[in-house]
């Protein structure tokens, strides 16, 4: 859409016209938006616009103000200063409902579906299709199924959302948002929990929306994806706009530099060969009821093993069953000794921890303090008699803040008040207090900015360096290839194969994950 002029010229604040777009085409414009919470300004004088049939990406580190900006544009928050224009006329959004009525739709980053209702029921919530007085479930199920098929997913639309994977819920949420008549669609980190195949399907969908003349605002941490989908990129840092540039000619490394304000070191830590010791964790013929079967693998001390696969391949479920968090059975050996882990407690006692992909739902108590969260799993070590040793907790928190670079101004904050990156670091610190010998990390960098990602990768490498066995489950193939010694790929609940060393390529993984030797993006089944 945008006919790019010189791509890398220095950035004046007003971007109008410079990108070759006529002011008349703007569907949604933000002029000098500011937003403060108490004395703290989280967004300062940000101007932005988006044309019909254009994808405008907004990038920035956590805390840069992206989510606040999106909430203002979608009517969830009102600006402290500044104005919004829709089709050139000033508008005052009374709330998200008002915004939707005007055709502005926000696809939330967090899953906002009623867990006990089905996909179809959620999708038509408040707009149910009726035949006379009776709900037309068949029609709603059909339409929901069609809406999900757009993503190449044959979704069980009549199952409660609770029983779906996070990725399936995310797709359902996107599909639901798009059932509202829309002219402007705002995506807030839509791919954070999607695997490459679904991401590709989503990007195709965005292409369709664009072709239909929908204006799109797109927030993502995945810079490659921004490069692929965006026409214009705006970079925020510390609540201020740093630059608005045409995407053409703007490479991910340039974006990262603009976001961070300095050159990033290499994203992945230098690779250290895993010591060729005997396997430490050895799993044979393990299955998770209904999700995974007959999984056999082993990890050596100091080795980082990756687990890849599509949504629903059963990776998370396999490890949850392994740790006694859901039903399953099979043989586990730790250092040659047979194990039976009835619950997470038993696994922890044996020296194995699992860090959940669902940080907010299963990882941290969002309404409790950092110290309470930090010591929750290792509380036995913070007791004097029956009493909790608060001084010891405070010391442990100081150590964790230092070691994991948790950035908080106030140690009395609740975990829910921290950014995703800091939450993940806290979860890491919490489990490392147990000094585990086996660490399983599920989606270690989901929804985390690039600076924190880089740190997490170094922590993972350091754990392996200390002789721990590390397993990383991730939907981001690039990060698995970047940090792992070996990658196991799952498909439909079974281990489909394994790649190692030079053979670890995205292509090889996709072939194993889909069972189809085609270019990335074609879904199997």
């Amino acid at each position: 859409m945008s006919t790019a002029s010189a791509p890398n010229q220095p950035q004046p604040d007003s971007s109008r016209g410079r990108l070759g777009r006529g002011e008349s085409e703007f569907v949604l414009e933000a002029v000098g938006l500011s937003r403060s919470f108490g004395p703290i300004e989280v967004l300062g004088d940000v101007s932005l616009d988006v044309c019909a049939g254009e994808v405008h990406a907004i990038i920035g580190e956590n805390g840069a103000g992206k989510s606040t900006l999106m909430k203002i544009l979608s009517g969830h928050l009102s600006p402290t200063r500044g104005a919004l224009k829709l089709d050139g006329a000033a508008v005052d959004l009374a709330g998200p409902v008002d915004a939707e009525r005007r055709g502005i739709v926000l696809v939330h980053q967090e899953i906002m579906l009623a867990p006990d209702l089905t996909i179809a029921e959620n999708m038509f919530l408040g707009r149910e299709i009726r035949r006379g007085l009776v709900l037309d479930d068949r029609e709603m199920n059909r339409r929901a199924f069609e809406a999900m098929r757009v993503f190449g997913v044959e979704a069980p639309v009549n199952l409660p959302v609770e029983r779906l994977s996070i990725a399936q819920r995310q797709l359902a949420q996107i599909a639901r948002a798009l059932t509202v008549p829309h002219r402007v669609v705002i995506f807030d980190e839509p791919t954070a929990s999607l695997t490459p195949v679904e991401t590709a399907a989503l990007l195709r969908l965005i292409g369709d929306l664009k072709a239909r003349g929908v204006a799109i605002l797109y927030i993502s941490h995945r810079l490659e994806e921004v490069k692929a989908v965006a026409d214009v990129v705006t970079v925020l840092r510390d609540g201020k706009k740093v630059a608005t540039r045409p995407a053409a000619g703007l490479e991910p490394v340039d974006m990262a530099r603009l976001m961070v304000g300095r050159d990033l070191l290499a994203l992945y830590p230098p690779r250290v060969a895993a010591p060729s010791a005997a396997p430490f964790l050895d799993v044979a013929g393990f299955g998770a009821d209904g999700f995974a079967e007959d999984a056999s693998f082993s990890v050596r001390p100091g080795e980082i093993l990756g687990f890849s696969g599509l949504v629903g391949a059963g990776r998370t479920e396999l490890f949850e069953a392994l740790f006694g968090l859901r039903k399953g059975a099979g043989a586990i050996r730790l250092d040659g000794k047979p194990q039976q882990w009835r619950d997470a407690r038993a696994a922890m006692r044996a020296g194995a921890v699992y860090l959940t992909e669902d940080r907010k739902g299963k990882g941290l108590l969002l309404e409790e303090t950092l110290a309470t969260n930090l010591t929750l799993a290792a509380l036995d070590g913070f007791q004097r008699g029956p009493v909790v040793d608060r001084a010891g907790e405070a010391r442990a928190l100081d150590t964790a803040i230092q070691r994991f670079d948790i950035r908080v101004g106030d140690k009395g904050l609740n975990a829910g008040q921290m950014s995703g990156g800091n939450q993940q670091k806290l979860l890491l610190a919490k489990m490392m207090l147990l000094d585990p010998r086996v660490v399983v990390i599920d989606e270690p960098t989901r929804g985390i900015d690039i600076g924190a990602k880089q740190q997490i990768y170094r922590f993972i490498a350091a754990m392996a360096g200390e002789g721990r066995s590390v397993i990383v489950i991730s939907s981001e193939m690039a990060e698995l290839i970047g940090v792992c010694h070996r990658i196991i790929v799952m498909r439909n609940g079974r281990i489909a194969g394994e790649v190692e060393g030079e053979a670890m390529t995205e292509h090889a993984i996709v072939v194993l994950a889909t069972g189809v030797d085609a270019t990335a993006g074609e879904a199997a089944t």
Partner: protein
């Protein structure tokens, strides 16, 4: 997600937690009203009487605070109190032990054991049986009450031996340096309850389990064990209340402890404990129990509102308290 890079606190200055202070402010306000309505309200006799009468609900409500904080609920406490009281009196009447003091002490110990067992049954049925606590304790509520009615053959069970009765009366009506024993019991139970909830690892785990069961499970906490223990402690609290209650009337009937579960839950919620778990305030619960008792007392002393409307006023209090909590949270 929208904090500045160094996740800056938006409301760190607001450290004084309104929700924690509100029940005490309300109690002071109500006492001031009582003093204005009738000068006799502030007399030492009246105040100690109010405190002593609130012992049963306050003690039971401390246990309920633990249960609710852990994400549970116990509707059976009133019926359990009646059942334990009946068994205790039957034991006192059995004449198994000659010495009156020894008999009473043994009866108290038996009550505590029976209370703990009743709580254990509630706890295991909800956790191991994986049944909603509302349903389980609704069931045991019927069971306990009916067992007492059966033991009493539809009437009441009364302490027969007048010597035993006289000796036991001291437990309710006696005092230490002018402070009635029941008041000492409230203070003691509250101190222990607050200590358990705020200082011990067990209390921390109770809060974690009530706040988010999944997080607790993924953190290696034995959710079933922690929850079951809260019910056992609730049973012990009920038994403590019974041990103080029995000497007051020296009898138990089908009407004993009727409606106590609702008053206990009201005291807990008015005190600032969150009904869905995760946040518990033992001292707030004590304030809540006192508020209920003081209001009843004021209504008896003054003639503005008929004392037959005590139930209605107490019902209104729980609704007002919930509204106030909602408003405080939305600010």
């Amino acid at each position: 997600m929208t904090q500045a890079v160094h996740d800056a606190p938006a409301g760190a200055a607001r450290r004084i937690n309104l929700g924690a202070v509100a029940p005490f402010l309300a109690l002071i306000l109500i006492c001031a009203l009582g003093a204005a309505a009738n000068a006799r309200f502030l007399s030492f006799d009246n105040l100690t009487n109010v405190l002593a009468r609130s012992t049963f609900i306050a003690t039971i409500a401390v246990g309920q605070t633990l249960v609710i904080t852990g994400g549970g609920l116990d509707l059976s406490v009133g019926a359990m109190a009646a059942f334990v009281a009946g068994l205790e009196i039957l034991f006192l009447n059995s004449g198994l032990i000659e010495n009156a003091t020894l008999l009473i002490v043994s009866a108290m110990a038996l009550s505590l054991a029976v209370g703990a067992l009743c709580g254990l049954f509630n706890g295991l049925t909800t956790t191991v049986g994986k049944i909603e606590p509302f349903i389980v304790t609704l069931g045991t509520m019927g069971i306990f009450r009916s067992l007492l009615t059966w033991l009493a053959q539809g009437g009441s069970i009364t302490i027969r031996d007048s010597e035993v009765r006289a000796a036991y009366r001291q437990v309710y009506f006696g005092d230490l340096f002018g402070v009635p024993y029941p008041v000492l019991v409230i203070v003691g139970v509250a101190i222990v309850g607050a200590f358990i909830l705020t200082r011990t690892a067990f209390g921390r785990r109770v809060r974690a389990v009530g706040s988010n069961e999944d997080v607790a499970r993924y953190s290696g906490i034995g959710v079933a064990r922690v929850r079951t223990l809260t019910y056992v402690l609730q049973g012990l609290c009920v038994a403590i209340a019974v041990v103080i209650y029995v000497p007051r009337l020296s009898s138990a009937s089908a009407a004993t402890g009727l409606g106590w579960e609702l008053m206990a839950i009201t005291a807990v919620v008015v005190g600032g404990t969150r009904l869905k778990g995760g946040v518990g305030r033992v001292w707030g619960t004590i304030a809540g129990a006192l508020i209920l008792e003081v209001i009843g007392n004021i209504m008896l002393l003054s003639n503005v509102v008929s004392e037959y409307l005590i139930g209605a006023v107490q019902g209104a209090i729980i609704i007002i308290a919930m509204l106030a909590q909602r408003l405080a949270r939305n600010r």
